[in-house]
Amino acid sequence: MNAPLTHARGAAIRFTDLTLGYDRHPAVHHLSAKVEAGGLVAIIGPNGAGKSTLLKAVAGALAPLSGHVSVEGARRRAIAYLPQLAAIDRTFPICVFDLVATGLWRRTGLFGGFSRTDRDAVSQALAHVGLTGFERRTIDALSGGQLQRALFARLMLQDADVILLDEPLTAIDTKTAADLLDVLRGWHAEQRTILAVLHDMNLVRDLFPHTMLLARELVAYGRTDDVLTQANLARARHMIEAFDEAAHICEHDKAAAQ
């Protein structure tokens, strides 16, 4: 039997009747689920299923239309979030080292000094993702894969209890993907809670113990093998349809209000 991990640091995430959306149209509808501390969960589903929206809500970048999402037991603001199309201005004249070093923001803040230890930490993170030697390159000289490596290095430095990755391996070659997945395994071994939006089913099967299948509603959530069934996937595909501009007020809410 495994001894209990004394340094468990991940935080549990609880979704309570959570509805998220834009302009009152739900993108995630009445979702209730719990991600255990230290969980490694893949979020899958067709386009428009609300996967990215869900991550945004956990990151605190989107207020719920109703219900709530809570992160339990995390140190304050200890959530690291890598958005799908990182809104990075690639033309800005900043070098890789400085970009990655912003991952230490919580330690250094606005005015905090940048010590030799911090410098070493950045160098280590860069070495870990295979970007040693790129420190002084400006980010406009990086390829897409190299930039994603740099962003993973920054995530490492953020040292967060909860890590949210939105399609982190899209348009990434196999070598880079393998390297970044090693980093991900490291985080899992350190008991951090990880939610990752993915489309590669083989990868999900190989690496992720748990999977959440979304199609605006929660289709299935649990052990990956139980979730990734033909029946579930087919159901998810059928449940996605376009926003209905003339949609009625949600009956579920009406019933609750009465």
């Binding site: 979030y81 990182a86 800005f92 004249p93 900043i94 919580r106 606005l110």
Partner: protein
């Protein structure tokens, strides 16, 4: 003509030249870094809009107290901040985008300013407000310019990290800190302040030049932010000196001479700059092995 006669004597012999020099150097020190950030935030034309927007404030100050530096400065600051805040509010509250709402407000503000000046003052006054009088800086104006340069540099040092990060990766900044919004506002305030300080020396319209031309030129010399700021400031300082010397020897109006010097620096950088300059682009270059 010796070097002394050319470059030193004008300043050694005439106090107004020394004052102009000190005033312009102070202005260039603050304007350089502010211009670089404006350029990198793709707000190069924002400075221009604001320069027009501060006109009615300065004009009202002028009407109330004559050619009083204090009154015109306060008026300019009030008008500038008002336009920034109103444009910001409209952008947040309505469907109008920031550039459109800013354009609307600055044009109204400009028309108002020209109306006020021409109702009461003469064309000479308008020229003074529009193009400044760098050769007539009194003590108060010099103290103002020096104080504004100091404030600009100190505030930039304080908001440097969020300001940079807001340009590079705004969503990341939002996830780690709430300093992005306040830093942006503080930066806009610095722009207004630099312009108001600048219009005493160069006029409302040309003071944009000492911010944007060195910044645009610096892009061709440095690939990293720090270097870019240093080069921009240096170009601003050198343009001030050479502009004043040229205006002295050739009898040119000094404000435009300073901006034209910066313009020459810009064209030279455009042509010969090592990063993206035209000459290097046109020369056939052998590519490297790796």
């Amino acid at each position: 003509m010796t070097f002394y006669d050319f470059a030193i004597a004008p300043f050694a012999e005439f106090e107004f030249m020394r004052r102009a020099l000190v005033g312009c150097l102070a202005l260039a020190l603050g304007a350089g870094p502010v211009g670089v950030f404006l350029m990198l935030r793709r707000m190069s034309l924002f400075g221009d809009a604001m320069a027009h927007a501060i006109l009615p404030g300065a004009a009202i100050g002028y009407l109330a107290a004559g050619l009083s530096l204090t009154a015109m400065t306060i008026g300019g600051l009030v008008a500038g901040f008002t336009v920034v805040l109103l444009a910001g509010l409209v952008t947040r509250a309505t469907a109008l985008k920031e550039d459109a709402s800013l354009a609307a407000f600055y044009l109204i503000s400009l028309a108002l300013g020209v109306t006020i000046v021409s109702l009461k003052g003469s064309n000479i006054d308008l020229l003074h407000v529009l193009f400044g009088s760098v050769l007539a800086l009194d003590d108060a104006a010099m103290i103002l310019l020096a104080a504004m340069a100091s404030i600009t540099l100190v505030v930039l040092a304080i908001i440097y990290r969020p300001l940079v990060l807001e340009c590079v990766d705004p969503s990341f900044l939002k996830s780690v800190s709430r300093a992005g919004g306040p830093a942006h506002l503080a930066f806009l305030a610095l722009v207004v302040m630099t312009l108001v300080g600048g219009f005493n020396a160069l006029g409302t319209l040309l003071s944009v030049g000492i911010m944007m031309l060195p910044a645009a030129a610096a892009r061709f010399w440095a690939i990293e932010l720090t270097g870019m700021i240093c080069v921009a400031t240096l170009i601003g300082l050198l343009s001030s000196v050479s502009g004043l010397i040229l205006s002295y020897h050739l009898g040119l109006p000094s404000g435009p001479a300073i901006i034209l010097s910066a313009g020459v620096a810009y064209f030279a950088s455009l042509a010969f700059g090592p990063h993206g300059g035209l000459v290097l682009r046109l020369l056939p270059q052998r590519h490297l092995e790796a």
